[in-house]
Amino acid sequence: MRIRKIGYVAVAGALLAAAAACGGGDTGGTASGGGTTDSGAAKTLTYWASNQGTSLDNDKQVLQPELDKFEKQTGIKVNLEVVPWADLLNRILAATTSGKGPDVLNIGNTWSASLQATGAFLPFDDKLLTDLGGKDRFLGPSLAATGAAGKPPTAVPIYGMTYGLFYNKKMFKEAGIDKPPATWDELVADGKKLTHGKQWGLAVEGASVSENSHHAFIFGQQHGSDLFDASGKPQFDSPQQVAAIKQYLDLMAVDKIVNPSNAEYSNGTEAVNDFVNGKAAMLMWQSIASQLKAANLGDDYYGLAPIPLPAPGSGGKQVNGMVAGINLAVFNFTKNRDGALKFVKFMTSAEEQQILNKTYGSLPTVQDAYNDPAFQTPTIKAFQDILAKTAAPLPQVPEESQFETLVGTAMNQLWADAASGKPITDESVKAKLTQANQQVQPGS
């Protein structure tokens, strides 16, 4: 009997403690402050950078001189931490939940709307944007990927990027092809000519959730698909989207211009390796400047063309790129709001935009940075052209991260099926997409 009583007391005590912890959690969430800097708040900032360079260390080497420059100009010391992509979202989650974290941070621009929904980030209203040189100073497409339409941006773009078609000039010449494909039929035909022995026409990252979801979006646009309807409900399994994804998968399943092994490429580097190492002749990718540099390959090795557009009048949109890139956001809880905004201004200044984007092989997000000759190379100009004219941002809705995870994962499985020779049919694609669609859980 006594034992049982003690047991009850223990349980009751635990519940009380839990209730107290819950209460604590609540106040923690609403606490007004809690930045990382206690003393001399105005003098320091904490900045989380994402991994853009060849390694975390490389990023530090690139960024530190710029941060030193900022300190010289403003007297504000910036504590830099480069956060690996594998950890970044979890770390942002932790910071959002606790109100403890950096003052300024990089986010993937596709996360913008999801993160905006948390209300944890400083909105860049017109006044703040004016301080940064005005809305019009930024590239329109990049600025469109900073949060839900009709709301002030939750972040500002700092590195711009989009998709293009890299092709191996030597292989094209050997196969007797004198220009990059301009239509999908040409791409498939060229791909077949380029596929022989250990060489393949095209490389894809078939087990990468983010690459898959990006291509699902681009191909979907070309088929006239909308991932979310006007009321924000997901419709991943629309006939247009099914056709779009099937077209992408058919490059392996039917046209056989993609190495089945690509279906297990998951870490976002293997398809690029295949292209750089001469195992594949074409690659639909964002900037691969640093990999090309690491392999000592120049303009004579590769060319960049736009990904083919759908035939006009096919009902699809003339979109062949996704607005990719990195945005800079400021946490609401910062104790050094002015300093943080100064830093944002610094990072979006023409000079820093030139220096950093040059190093990372990405595109400046402000118009006035493009006068640097470094951005007049054929590759950068081609990317710039795509981003300005035919790129569209991923849907800016809070459920976007669920789209990436669910559709990207579904496509992993479809690639696996294609690689093992299972037929890819409208039905099999639709079944997977319907399942993904049903798993979306509305956020609000």
């Binding site: 003690i6 223990a10 912890a21 604590g24 106040t27 923690g28 606490a31 060849t54 931490e81 640093s290």
Partner: protein, 279 residues
């Protein structure tokens, strides 16, 4: 035991199979660590065509390996020592006293082994943040928080193993010590602990290994300055390339001291388990 004639053959086959199963990944690790990246990416070969020791130099530059290693050592050592200390007291109470709630205590503690980490990761994080706000003791992002977390991860199994071990030490011994004028703690420190050294070492090793390899909590609860190896090693998979040869080289480098330490102590491990857990 009498050995039948077929036993040596069975032993040869069985242990040979287990040996190969154990060996092959270790061999792959070693051989890949001395190949240039190009060779590693181009397909597997048992014998490296070019031997390069550069990976062993590069591993320190690609990520701050030394710091991660230091963090892991600090966290795992302190967590295991504290865990064992706490476990010794608890196990002593359970082994030597019949008190109300004893059974509730043992069952509750053991049952925490079945909590899915994902269930309490976020709440634990919130508690750390709130404790930090209330007391100024920084638990989130610090080694302290990680140490406290890990020490409880190994606590249940440690207590349970030590209870078994202490049970095997005759009670008459500590009664004798008490007659000599020792209190309960005196008996624990003068009699039980010295007699239980193998078990304590075994539990320490177990606690160390638990803290050494944990990934999930470390990925949320650490920042660059406190990151442990378990998550830090992922840094070799950069946006640019996966440096397989460096992953292998680094794995090897960080494993060697642990494996050696482990092997030096494994005599105790077997001994400790013999009398403890397995009763």
């Amino acid at each position: 035991m009498r050995e039948p004639r077929w036993l040596p053959l069975a032993r040869w086959i069985g242990l040979g199979f287990l040996g190969l199963f154990t060996l092959i990944p270790l061999y792959v690790m070693v051989s890949s660590s001395i190949k240039p990246l190009q060779d590693v990416q181009n397909g597997f070969s048992w014998i490296p065509t070019t031997i390069s020791l550069r990976p062993f130099a590069d591993i320190w530059k690609t990520i701050p390996l030394a710091r991660y290693f230091g963090n892991s050592l600090i966290v795992a050592s302190i967590a295991s020592v504290l865990s064992v200390t706490v476990a010794i007291f608890a196990a002593y109470a359970v082994s030597r006293y019949r008190f109300p709630g004893r059974r509730v205590f043992t069952v509750t503690v053991l049952s925490t082994q079945m909590f899915p980490g994902i269930l309490f990761l976020l709440p634990l994080f919130m508690i750390f943040v709130n404790v930090g706000n209330a007391t100024g003791l920084e638990l989130y992002g610090s080694r302290t928080g990680l140490i406290i977390t890990y020490l409880t991860f190994s606590l249940p199994f440690s207590i349970w193993m030590l209870v078994g071990y202490f049970d095997s030490i005759p009670k008459a011994l500590d009664e004798a010590a008490k007659v000599d004028g020792n209190g309960p703690l005196g008996a624990l420190f003068r009699v039980v602990i010295p007699a239980a050294i193998p078990g304590i070492v075994a539990v320490t090793i177990y606690a160390f290994m638990t803290a050494w390899g944990e990934v999930l909590f470390a990925s949320v609860m650490t920042d660059d300055s406190t990151r442990t190896l378990a998550v830090g090693l992922r840094g070799y998979a950069t946006e640019n390339d996966v440096y397989w040869n460096q992953v292998m080289a680094a794995s090897l480098v960080v494993s060697v001291p642990v494996v050696i330490g482990f092997l030096l102590l494994q005599r105790y491990l077997v001994q400790g388990l013999t009398a403890g857990a397995v009763k």
